[in-house]
């Protein structure tokens, strides 16, 4: 039977210490993972010298990361745009003219919702998949076998995944932006009594290229985070099937946390400092 403290105050202190311990362990794990991912990024950058030989691998990964994620991105984007239209119309009614609905949808989708939601849904799918694949290769000694043959696993496994994700996340984000705006456009016409002409007029009125550029810059960084954290978790896997499951979970958690943190950092950097007032 489990021993419990006879003094209630001590039990609370034990619970607090346990919670702090858990938070500490998670923080150490996150920092360790990010540190390992940084080393991986450096070694993958060096491996770029041989990207010519790895091009078929990059194309294969681009297909798996990009093309196979498309159905998920389509569903997420169309409904995100539709919901944004309904919510914006509800929040803006009575004090903002309807013409600004197009502006609100375009701005929120291109700057924030497109890149972030695409990164979160693709990140969940891709980082877990990369971590599980590389993790299985690690625990079944396939990565050792590759090393033993004199084939660099960083060049053969990691670099192609990172390059493919860096290319495909902005591409998926462009798709997501178009589809989300399309979803908002459709709902605005179908149920919010807003003509297509006014919707498009609202979008054009405040269109600036730096919004698109900012959103795509975010997507590029998110692509790097997703692939790097997936590879880092996979390559650090140990302990069989349980270890592979833990690696996939770790990859998704660290990817999502870093996407949200870096979204804030990039928002400040891009829209306050670089593009400025």
């Amino acid at each position: 039977m489990r021993n419990s403290s006879p003094i209630p105050g001590n039990a609370i202190a034990d619970a607090g210490a346990g919670l702090l311990g858990t938070i500490g362990r998670v923080a150490i794990e996150l920092v360790t993972e990010v540190g390992f991912a940084s080393i991986l990024l450096w070694r993958s950058t060096l491996a770029l010298r041989k990207i010519g030989r790895s091009m078929p691998l990059v194309i294969e990964q681009a297909r798996r990361i990009g093309v196979e994620s498309l159905p998920l991105v389509i569903m997420t984007s169309v409904f995100t745009g539709a919901v944004t239209a309904v919510q914006a119309a509800y929040q803006l009614k009575d004090f903002v003219p309807k013409i600004y609905l197009g502006t609100a949808i375009y701005k929120s989708v291109v700057i924030e919702l497109g890149p972030v939601l695409t990164a979160l849904v693709v990140g969940g799918r891709v980082s877990a998949s990369i971590a599980a694949e590389l993790g299985t290769m690690r625990v079944t000694e396939q990565i050792d076998a590759m090393d033993a043959m004199g084939i660099d696993p960083i060049r053969y496994l990691t670099m192609p995944r990172i390059v493919a994700a860096l290319v495909m996340l902005p591409v998926l984000t462009v798709f997501a932006d178009i589809l989300a705006i399309g979803g908002g456009f459709f709902v605005s016409n179908a149920s919010l009594d807003l003509s297509p002409k006014i919707f498009i007029e609202g979008m054009k009125m405040h269109f600036v290229a730096r919004d698109v550029l900012g959103g795509l810059t975010k997507a590029l960084v998110f692509g790097g985070i997703i692939s790097l954290m997936g590879c880092a978790a996979g390559l650090r896997t140990f302990g069989g099937a349980v270890g592979v499951g833990a690696a996939a979970t770790r990859a998704v958690v660290t990817s999502c946390v870093l996407i949200l943190v870096s979204d804030y950092v990039l928002a400040v950097l891009l829209f306050k400092i670089i593009f400025g007032e």
């Binding site: 299985t136 396939q142 050792d144 033993a148 043959m149 004199g150």
Partner: protein
């Protein structure tokens, strides 16, 4: 690597490298000197010393978990020791990195315990990968070479299969074919018969022996299977609690007074094969 004299292909297993080469003296190819390795508080290798001569097949025998596979991974540079040195033809391996280590590894072939086939590739792609990556061979030439290697392990025509379609014994054969793809000077075998039924284990033992005669490579076989050791090895090294307790021929092993050797034999490791071993009598 120095040129090796031709072997007597009719020699019986366990006859000893020197005997098979007509008494010529071979130089050391692999020298492990005072090798130490710990994982946390656990000392796995505690001052290993081992010398493998040119063309010789050294079997490292010992119970599961005694550090045999860790030793093998040090020999090919997959692990770095805490201290000690590993010399491959007189060149220190432990300090190598990057390009030098890669060049050295290309002279090795290794068969992993679980075969370690790339499960996203076909059998042919597995065997052809080192040829494609290091020699730039592609197309029909690659297919012919792969077919040749698969033929050497009795799997001609299997290049289109996926690893998931293979039995345990077939996977080990493909791993063997992949290990010899680059015609290595040194072949390392990590528990080649583990997880196989006695008949399949026997076939793998025979295949290892046949390949040794064909490719004339220096080999280290790590196993806990006494019968496999007897069949494949020229010399036996018994590993116990992170140290090499004994090195000699199978006859020396059987007649040894070393306590670790007596305990290992008495506890009946590889008892599955004991009957087969005894029924064959003294093969040498």
């Amino acid at each position: 690597m120095t040129e090796r004299p031709d072997r007597d292909t009719t020699a019986t297993p366990g006859g000893g490298a020197t005997a098979r080469r007509g008494g010529t003296t071979a130089g050391p190819v692999i020298e492990v000197r005072d090798l130490w390795k710990s994982f946390g508080d656990q000392e796995v290798l505690r001052g290993i010393n081992l010398t493998v001569l040119d063309g010789e097949t050294m079997v490292v025998l010992g119970p599961s978990g005694c550090g045999k596979s860790v030793l093998l991974k040090h020999v090919i540079g997959l692990m770095k020791p805490d201290r000690g040195s590993i010399l491959v033809e007189g060149n220190e391996l432990t300090g190598l990195d990057g390009r030098e280590l890669k060049d050295l590894r290309m002279r090795f072939g290794m068969v992993f315990q679980g075969a370690a086939l790339f499960d996203s590739m076909t059998v042919g792609e597995n065997v052809g990968l080192p040829l494609k990556e290091h020699c730039g061979i592609e197309g029909d030439e690659l297919a012919d070479l792969v077919e040749g290697k698969l033929g050497m392990v009795g799997l001609a025509g299997a290049s289109h299969l996926q690893p998931s379609e293979l039995s345990g014994g077939m996977k080990k054969r493909v791993a063997l074919a992949r290990a010899i793809a680059l015609d290595p000077d040194i072949v390392l075998y990590d528990e080649p018969t583990t997880g196989l039924d006695p008949i399949m284990a026997e076939q793998i033992n025979q295949l290892i022996r046949a390949l040794q005669r064909k490719i004339h490579a220096t080999s280290i076989v790590v196993t806990h299977d006494l019968h496999s050791a007897k069949f494949t090895g020229d010399k036996i090294a018994l590993m116990h609690e992170g140290r090499i307790e004994f090195v000699g021929t199978m006859d020396d092993l059987r007649n040894s007074d070393n306590e670790a050797v007596r305990i290992f034999i008495a506890r009946g490791y590889a008892s599955d094969h004991r009957t087969a071993w005894e029924s064959r009598g003294e093969r040498q």
